[in-house]
Amino acid sequence: MNLKELITDKVIEKFGTALEEVSDFRDDICLTVSSDQIVAIGKFLKDDSDLQFITCKDITAIDWGTRKKRFTAVYHIYSFKLNCTLRIKANIDADPPAIETVTSVWRSADWYERETFDMYGIKFTNHPDLRRMYMPEGFEHHPLRKDFPVIGIPGSLPLPHQAE
């Protein structure tokens, strides 16, 4: 059986209805799961001896603008054994947006979640150190949201004093 069926069968066997959708666009396997089971699914994918998805390559989020569930968290994980990059999507329905952190499963998720928090404002509960990554600490907005303009909000970041 091919990779997509292998992974899907294993996840459905263990988690049943938590797996909402599977897609195969341009040969990228993508699972859409429910956001409250994300840590359990991540742990299963990492520990299972046939799958062994031991590295988390990237975590990010998509802002859909005016859709009802506005944010979707996207995880890219990789398995050396299967030589496969898997994408997991989780629609976030809490408001203000929050999802459980996966740093207990993959250590590299630390900085990726901080970056996603900085850019989108999604709080990762139980994260050991949720600070902003790029913008200075006291900055009030989240730049990659669709309602923040590209040129920024004048006055939100002060310049040093002019030469007297």
Binding site: Y134, M135, P136, P143, F148, P149, V150, I151, G152, I153, S156, L157, P158, L159, P160, H161, Q162, A163, E164
Partner: protein, 172 residues
């Protein structure tokens, strides 16, 4: 000034103090490379054996502001970094000059975004702007030669006990 010509004749030179001091200042401009991003690589390339900045007197590229007189700001300056650049500029002793290297420092470059300062002249007095993304090393050497011409026209007493505002008026 013709110093070399006089050296073969009898041992007296008449000149003005301004000319001597101007010649000394412009022939050994020590740059402070504020290398932030891509332009920094071209600045290192200007110091490498092919484009040799050392023959202009700028061999010493020290990273400490207290010993330098020229600040070459090379790279995109963001709002967070602007505080740092201004602080380093304030630490440099007078007389000091600034080269804005590249499009990002002159006017924000190709980045019209929320975190990029649209030109460092919003918080620093700039003497020479350089065009290019990144400017070729020959362009940077041309900017350095323009600064040297500018220094050659200053007077020795220009930089004593003046406030910053008067200095800027003089440097224009």
């Amino acid at each position: 000034m013709g110093l070399e010509a006089k050296l073969t004749q009898d041992g007296f030179i008449t000149t003005t103090i301004d000319a001597v001091v101007g010649w000394a200042r412009k022939s050994s401009v020590w740059p402070m490379p504020m290398g932030i991003s891509c332009c920094a690589i071209e600045m290192i390339a200007a110091a490498d054996p092919k484009y040799d900045i050392a023959r202009f007197g700028s061999e010493v590229m020290r990273f400490t502001p207290r010993q330098c007189d020229l600040m070459i700001v090379a790279g995109t300056v963001t709002f967070k970094m602007a505080q740092v650049v201004r602080r380093i500029y304030d630490q440099m002793p007078d007389p000091k000059w600034v080269i804005a290297m590249g499009a990002c420092t002159s006017s924000g470059g190709m980045y019209r975004s929320y975190n990029v300062v649209q030109g460092i002249d919003q918080f620093l007095p700039v003497d020479v702007y350089t065009a290019g993304c990144p400017p070729r090393p020959e362009n940077l050497l041309n900017a350095l030669m323009t600064i040297q011409e500018k220094i050659g026209k200053t007077r020795a007493r220009d930089f004593q006990n003046r406030s910053l505002k008067e200095l800027e008026l003089l440097q224009k």
